[in-house]
Amino acid sequence: MKYAILFSVFLASIFMSPMSLAQNKTEQTLVEPGSFDFRLTAGFGGIENPLRERDHIRSPLLPEFSYYGDKLYIENLVFGYSLYESPIWLVDAYGYFNNDGYFFADSNTAKVISIAGITQNTWKATRVELNLEDIERDLSYMAGINISHINTWYRTNLSIAKDITSVHHGEEISLTFAKPMQWNSFTVTVQFGATYKSADISDYYYRLTDQENTIAIRQQDIGDTLSPWSSVNLRYHFNPSWSVGLSFKKTWFDSKFKQSILVEESNYSSGFVGVSYRY
């Protein structure tokens, strides 16, 4: 049912919008094939951890990397290959790390996040009988299809991906609306969307296994979830190299997450503010 709702909204957004060329495209939304881009931001930011007995993930640095070839592209840990590309439609095969794994600061997660430059992720020792800090979950890499439709006013994105690392065998569907705006050197992107996660993902990350549930807490399956989110990105460019930026994203968990002993907060924020240098 949720698949149908997401798909219906996606179709409606496309057919209700003008089918003209993307006349509102800003320069920074276009990239020349064969170009590398590396930007390092120094400031403050991280990810608020909605899990019980875990600290937030913070970092003073945020590195961002991208490469665009004729078909291939890499944006940080996202790898994509363009199957079809026109000024209006983009269809990619792509892969990315599922974000639920970031909340569990096990050794693998710490390693990857350290590579990503988001360090200082620590977590407190718990005082409750159940040792939540011992609960580990693997990161998973999702792969699937990413479809974008660009019109004069906004950009619609539909992503359907499945776990290819055999961690939980779950699926994710994301629907995103993005509105990029530019006033001279000032760029703003406002986005909102929703992410559907199949029961395999939710139950793997947020439900205790029988071995972990040492005090026999009565648990219910979380099931499939649909979590909305919104974000805003602001950036002012002093010149092609230097800029200041602020990005902020808020995600509201599906109410089903209340059934999880691991989840403490019903929403979480992530973001970064700082000065950026582009190489």
Partner: protein, 139 residues
């Protein structure tokens, strides 16, 4: 800046760069003393990447110091167009070229070359830009 406008602007910059380069490279012979003034337009024809040929209207405006029989000659296109006993001549015709051609102004009977100009063929190659995905960190 819109996508379309950007393509047009980049294309224009490319053509300007080409025009500048070709204007410098244009082979113009010494103007014969029998010609007091000559204007040949255009100096360059730009074709789209997808088009094999380039079509344009050639306009040659010629002022001679004395009346004579002159011809416009484009060997590559087997064109020879003459005007008899003129002091002021104008040649106009639609041409289709698929390579750079040489335009000669000659004296009809002696075939003495009074003026030579090269009309360059350029190709419009818009810079192919890809839309950035802006996926960033998926948190």
């Amino acid at each position: 800046m819109t996508f379309k406008l950007m393509i047009v602007r980049l294309g224009s910059m490319f053509i300007c760069a080409l025009s500048g380069a070709f204007a410098q490279a244009q082979e113009v012979s010494d103007v014969s003393t029998q010609i007091s003034e000559i204007n040949i337009l255009p100096e360059i024809c730009v074709r789209n990447q997808n088009n094999a040929q380039c079509q344009f209207k050639l306009d040659v405006d010629l002022q001679l110091t004395a009346k004579m029989d002159v011809c416009l000659v484009i060997e590559a296109l087997r064109i020879r167009q003459c005007q008899a006993q003129v002091e002021k001549a104008r040649f106009q015709r639609v041409l289709t070229i698929n390579e750079t051609v040489t335009i000669d102004i000659v004296e009809e009977h002696t075939n003495q070359v009074l003026y030579t100009s090269v009309l360059k063929l350029a190709e419009f190659k818009p810079v192919n830009l890809r839309p950035r995905r802006n996926l960033g960190w998926i948190f």
